[in-house]
Subunit: 254 residues, 2 copies
Amino acid sequence: MEYTVQQLARLAGVSPRTLRYYDEIGLLKPARINPSGYRIYGTREVDRLQQILFYRELGVSLEKIMAILSSPNFDRMQALMEHREKLLEKRAQLDLLLANVEKTIAACGGRMEMSDQEKFMGFKQQLVEENERKFGKEAREKYGDEAVDQSGRKVLNMTREQHAQLEALSNELTEVLREAFKSGDPASELAQEAADLHRQWLCFFWDDYSREAHAGLAEMYVADERFRAHYDKEQPGMAAFLRDAILIYTGQKS
Amino acid sequence: MEYTVQQLARLAGVSPRTLRYYDEIGLLKPARINPSGYRIYGTREVDRLQQILFYRELGVSLEKIMAILSSPNFDRMQALMEHREKLLEKRAQLDLLLANVEKTIAACGGRMEMSDQEKFMGFKQQLVEENERKFGKEAREKYGDEAVDQSGRKVLNMTREQHAQLEALSNELTEVLREAFKSGDPASELAQEAADLHRQWLCFFWDDYSREAHAGLAEMYVADERFRAHYDKEQPGMAAFLRDAILIYTGQKS
DNA sequence: TTACACCTTTACGCAACGTCAAAGTCAACA
DNA sequence: TGTTGACTTTGACGTTGCGTAAAGGTGTAA
């Protein structure tokens, strides 16, 4: 297929001006220019624009997008994975902000007096996190100590670390489960690994793990659409697959 | 306390230039100008800057921030709550994007061919979802039923009657919870009724109900986005509300 | 042929500052 | 007392990712 600016713009949900701009800065050149000077885009350009918009969506500057797309070892899959990671990071940041807001709400509710310093704690902490990501751990030691002195943030750190661990587990579970699901065998090694990951994940919340309880939760996943939705969202039947894997794992079923 | 530009800037984690800019556009005027022309900020300005940064953080334009802060019926607490809501919205959007990315990764992994139209489905779908949030639930009913039809929702290990009971319970819980949430008090009678309904619902899956386990599940609802999403989807903060109600119900909290 | 929707380039405008530059201020230290 | 050096001021131009005309050429359907 071939498209003019407006056609491609409508297809992608951007403005023609945007496409002209991308041409101008060399981010997305049209496949060719027709005799009247019209920009004509082909399938390869459609693909490239898709990539561009993906990265743009998460706030990557056009310059960096250019660098990413023109990198020789550019691997579509890898790019997507990185994209995903960044989205996850962004969400973690948002969670932090949310926590800060809620803390402030709580403080207001309790009519607590906050010092001028405390009023900006939330923002600064976020800055610290950002710097940490950017400049590694040297900055963290500097800023971190300051922050520690100021707020005694160890507790916060603990919960955050746990949260990170939890998220990591959750992600791993999702991936292993997806892989295992391909085989279709809930008794397979991979499926059993998924079940074990699920147990680990559960143990974040339950001190009193029991196989019966675990099996019960598995049943719940399938029986109630609210939970099933999460697992089936990726692939229909995944919730049932996980349940079967867990039932085998817990010895409720062979 | 009184601060010069740099002092306040450091306190708040912004640049002096930013403060000068805010002065220039009338967003944050210094308390006074000293004989040498230096900007001097006081406690009231610190508070205002805090408000400004709160809103800036979620992408509100400085112009709108100005409008918000200068509105006569401006209520600090309400502003914070709204801020929180918007953060939750933003995160929901991010979750959508994440889902799209993961879908695309899956598609790539399966070496599926996508048509030019499909390539932009993710973005467009996001638009659809946004509309859905804006224009109510009619669309949701449509999609919901479709999803139901697709997934062939026979519950394997449960009789139909049990399933009907469970669904009824689930619906009742949803309604009671929604009503209780209006009051805002997790200790209210209605909220406690919701907690009890939740216990009944749980007992469909767990033979060994314990208050500790129930409380643990409540924590899990809030701690893990996958479950929180379900409850917060209706009203942000609902998951936390249900947790609080359950914690009170189980005697973990008064 | 004329209307109308498309296309082109050129160019200025916008937010929210960053980043010089040139010049004045303040506290401390030799 | 002079002189650093860290601060302050105003002014002005640069940046990103486009929006929004302006002024003109193109394609086609009535």
